[in-house]
């Protein structure tokens, strides 16, 4: 079919949420038109084994490619020429966009931790934020299906609020490397768990995708299909049904409604010609990413309603959350000069530190209500431009120091839960338009004391662990207010169109269906009711799968 013909479903966005919806719907027999603002992209373009040496500036990040020359993101980053966003005075927010087929799934770190029972009912536990309209038990089968489809390595450790996956779901995780074994020994001694990480990476062949071959940074994209990205999986699979039409370079700016209040499709700008076009469908699914989905709704003004579409609750754009981030790193003399071997492995996490202190929180012995996990980095990695950091002097002793120090530094990265607050939201900046003439987003963002106290907990705990292992801090961490990441910087932004069980306080129901428009669905991170410390994407996909299943049923029964 062509983009001009009416389809059963119009899906906006081809990232984690959009591609999952498109795959479920096409498999159920529905015709789907996927509109993607970026260019067509195939991971066959990925420069997988190229050396840093062959890239300009040894591949370091620049304003053209913020995460490095070989990073998979094309036409994206913190700033995009001609496509600004603005910030309210006193607010800082960073918004990462990847305008390409597959969106940010082409280069995400693939860390995939399920949310647990506490995470879906946070208000019930501590009175803060809101509960989700679903429980963990509702979601468990969808997590299993998603993980099985996606391919996730990890282990079932039966830890509190870190649920096991169903039998046979997980791929075997790669072995710990020397420095991870070392950290585990320290953690064991002071009751900080160091366990296998979970990542959306295959370690055995399950379909046409190959298992990890233990080389090449996953952020470059994985052309062999081992690291999950929608461009090696959901999108080609949906295409193979013969039911998917993709229009790239299609910048959607509003949802159209008919006189009865049903969505009829969307309007978009065809970037190649600059012409405005309409795409029609029985159901509209918006998954343009948390910020952009809110922007499209707020810019849709059916019958001149200034509050935007699906916004009778006033919650569109509200409750913007990101992950709490901060870092500590240390040198460990005990790791100096250790025997060399290939520590590339799956490049990212083999091990991590899941949150362990729930009991003390429950007993009121800890002053921060919500947890975090710690992502760790070390290894004899590909030496980069930072190889000399911290070294001194010159001459043959410097040569010796480089070798001695190599592989003895470990970085600890906090990834924590943020509680939604009234000062963090996005709205339309009525003064500023992008190069297409579309009004842009304006961000307000503020952390609260809860998050700052959580940073303190992380700093104290990690210093204890580093101490136990005889490490020396690279530098003393800053005060929490300075150490904490900027809003959006961790690129886990969620929550601008939260789901709930009450139409007055939420934008969608538990299936991502907007309360106000019966055939308008949202299937990206915008629907999150809370931002657990777990990285969001596996949950985005599990929710998208569940919502799309609901759409498919309603299409089949003729309800839509």
């Amino acid at each position: 079919m062509t983009p001009d013909e009416p389809h059963d479903a119009v899906v906006v966005g081809s990232g984690a949420g959009g591609a999952m919806a498109a795959w479920v719907l096409t498999r159920a027999g529905a015709s789907v038109l996927m509109l993607e603002a970026g260019r067509d992209y195939s991971p066959d373009e990925s420069p997988m084994l190229n050396m840093a040496m062959d890239a300009p500036l040894r591949g370091v990040g620049t304003p053209d490619k913020r995460f490095g020359y070989y990073d998979a993101t094309v036409d994206g980053g913190w700033d995009m020429p001609g496509e600004p966003y603005t910030m309210a005075e006193g607010s800082e927010f960073m918004w990462w966009r990847s305008r390409m087929l597959g969106g940010r799934t082409n280069h995400w770190a693939r860390n995939s931790f399920r949310m647990g029972p506490y995470d879906f009912k946070p208000r019930t536990r501590d009175g803060l934020g809101v509960d989700w309209p679903v429980t963990y038990d509702d979601m468990a089968p969808w997590y299993d299906k998603t993980e099985k489809l996606v391919g996730v390595y990890g282990s079932n450790d039966g830890l509190e609020n870190h649920p096991n996956s169903g039998p046979g779901v997980l791929h075997t995780p790669p072995k710990f490397r020397v420095w991870e074994t070392f950290l585990k020994a320290g953690g064991d001694a002071i009751n900080i768990p160091v366990v296998a990480a979970r990542r959306a990476i295959l370690t055995k062949q399950i379909d046409e995708r190959s298992p990890c071959y233990w080389a090449s940074a996953c952020g470059r994209g994985c052309s062999i299909g081992a690291a999950f990205q929608t461009t090696t999986s959901l999108i080609p699979w949906a295409k193979a049904t013969g039911k998917l039409t993709i229009a790239t370079g299609a910048m959607v700016y509003e949802v159209m409604l008919d006189a009865t209040g049903k969505a009829t499709g969307v309007r978009y700008i065809d970037k190649a010609t600059g012409s405005h076009k309409e795409a029609k469908g029985r159901v509209v699914v918006v998954a343009a990413s948390t910020g952009e989905t809110a922007r499209i709704l707020l810019n849709s003004k059916p019958n001149g309603r200034s509050e935007g579409l699906a916004n009778s609750s006033g919650q569109v754009g509200r409750n913007l959350m990101d992950t709490v981030g901060s870092n500590i790193s240390a040198y460990f003399p005990q790791l100096e000069g250790r025997p060399r071997y290939n520590e590339d492995g799956a490049m990212g996490l083999h091990a991590y530190i899941p949150f362990w202190d729930y009991k003390r929180i429950q007993n009121g012995e800890v002053d921060t209500p919500r947890g975090y996990h710690v992502e760790i980095g070390g290894s004899f990695g590909d030496p980069g431009m930072g190889v000399g950091s911290g070294l001194d002097g010159y001459g043959s002793s410097l040569r010796a120091d480089v070798k001695r120090r190599y592989g003895s530094r470990i970085g600890f990265t906090q990834r924590g839960e943020m509680i939604p607050n009234a000062n963090s939201y996005c709205s339309i900046d009525t003064e500023t338009k992008d190069k297409f003439g579309i009004p842009v987003l304006k961000f307000n963002f503020a952390w609260s004391d809860h998050e700052l106290k959580q940073v303190k907990h992380f700093q104290t705990s990690m210093k204890e662990l580093i101490d136990k292992l005889g490490g020396t801090l690279v530098s003393e961490p800053d005060e929490p207010a300075k150490a904490i990441s900027k809003g959006g910087e961790i690129i886990h932004e969620v929550g601008t169109c939260r789901m709930g069980s009450d139409a007055r306080e939420s934008v969608t129901n538990q299936f991502g269906k907007t309360w106000d428009v019966d055939n308008l669905y949202l299937t990206d991170g915008s629907v999150f009711a809370s931002k657990a410390h777990k990285n969001p994407t596996i949950t985005i996909m599990a929710l998208a799968m569940r919502s799309a299943d609901n759409i498919a049923t309603r299409l089949r029964t003729g309800e839509l």
């Binding site: 620049t62 074994t181 001194d392």
Partner: protein, 231 residues
């Protein structure tokens, strides 16, 4: 430097001095001239206007697209400084043999803000190095004898022993050292020397630590009185 090149160096050096003089005049700092190395003002430089590689570069053609800007004299100084930072050692060649000066040139010529900051530091720093060396021994840095070169570097190369008043040259040196090390250890020779044996696709399960590496860490962990868990 071999003697045969000495005359080239002097000539080139004069050109640098001239360029520096013009820069100093523009910055209204002429009064400082003729005062040896104190004349280097570490002045801001005009930003490079060339195009970057863009947001969607072609991985089949990865050459940096911007023109290189360092003068011959700056390259000579950079090359000799890099070779003192990491002198050749057995199988491991000096940085100048691995293209490190050319890399520094690519770096300081790049049209991006971080590299611009380094350019101001490094171009001024290289001029400082030559002028300071001249003021002390009559020769530019590359032509000075090893003892003189080291005496100079000893005043700026150690974080806790920077000679008062030489903070800016020390900052230059530290940045130059970082770039030199980064450029050096990202080459195949650098990988071999440091012991990086990755970027090698394999089949089957990830093998994990070699028996030797595992035995080593086990001894370390148990030596600390902690419990070792085999991977």
């Amino acid at each position: 430097m071999p003697n045969s090149k000495a005359s080239d160096l002097v000539m080139i050096d004069r050109r640098v001095t001239l360029k520096w003089l013009m820069g100093a005049m523009a910055a209204g700092q002429l009064a400082a001239c003729g005062d040896g190395a104190k004349g280097v003002t570490w002045a801001e430089m005009e930003a490079i206007k060339a195009k970057g590689y863009g947001t969607d570069p072609d991985f089949n053609n990865t050459a940096a697209p911007w023109p290189l800007t360092m003068t011959q004299a700056e390259l000579v100084a950079a090359s000799s400084l890099a070779d003192i930072i990491l002198p050749a050692d057995g199988d491991y060649p000096a940085p100048s043999k691995l293209g490190v000066p050319a890399f520094i040139n690519e770096w300081v010529s790049a049209p991006y803000p971080d590299q611009h900051r380094d350019r101001v530091l490094i171009i001024n720093g290289l001029a400082w190095l030559d002028q300071e060396s001249r003021a002390r021994s009559g020769a530019i840095f590359a032509s000075a004898d090893t003892a003189a070169q080291k005496a100079l570097l000893d005043e700026i190369a150690y974080r806790d022993r920077v000679k008062p008043g030489l903070e800016k040259p020390a900052e230059f040196f530290s940045r130059f050292r970082s770039l030199t090390l980064g450029a050096y250890y990202t080459t195949p020779a650098g990988w071999t020397e440091i012991g990086y044996v990755g970027n090698q696709p394999g089949t089957g399960d990830y093998p994990g630590p070699t028996p030797e590496a595992a035995a080593h860490i086990r001894a370390v962990i148990e030596g600390m009185g902690l419990k070792y868990t085999a991977p």
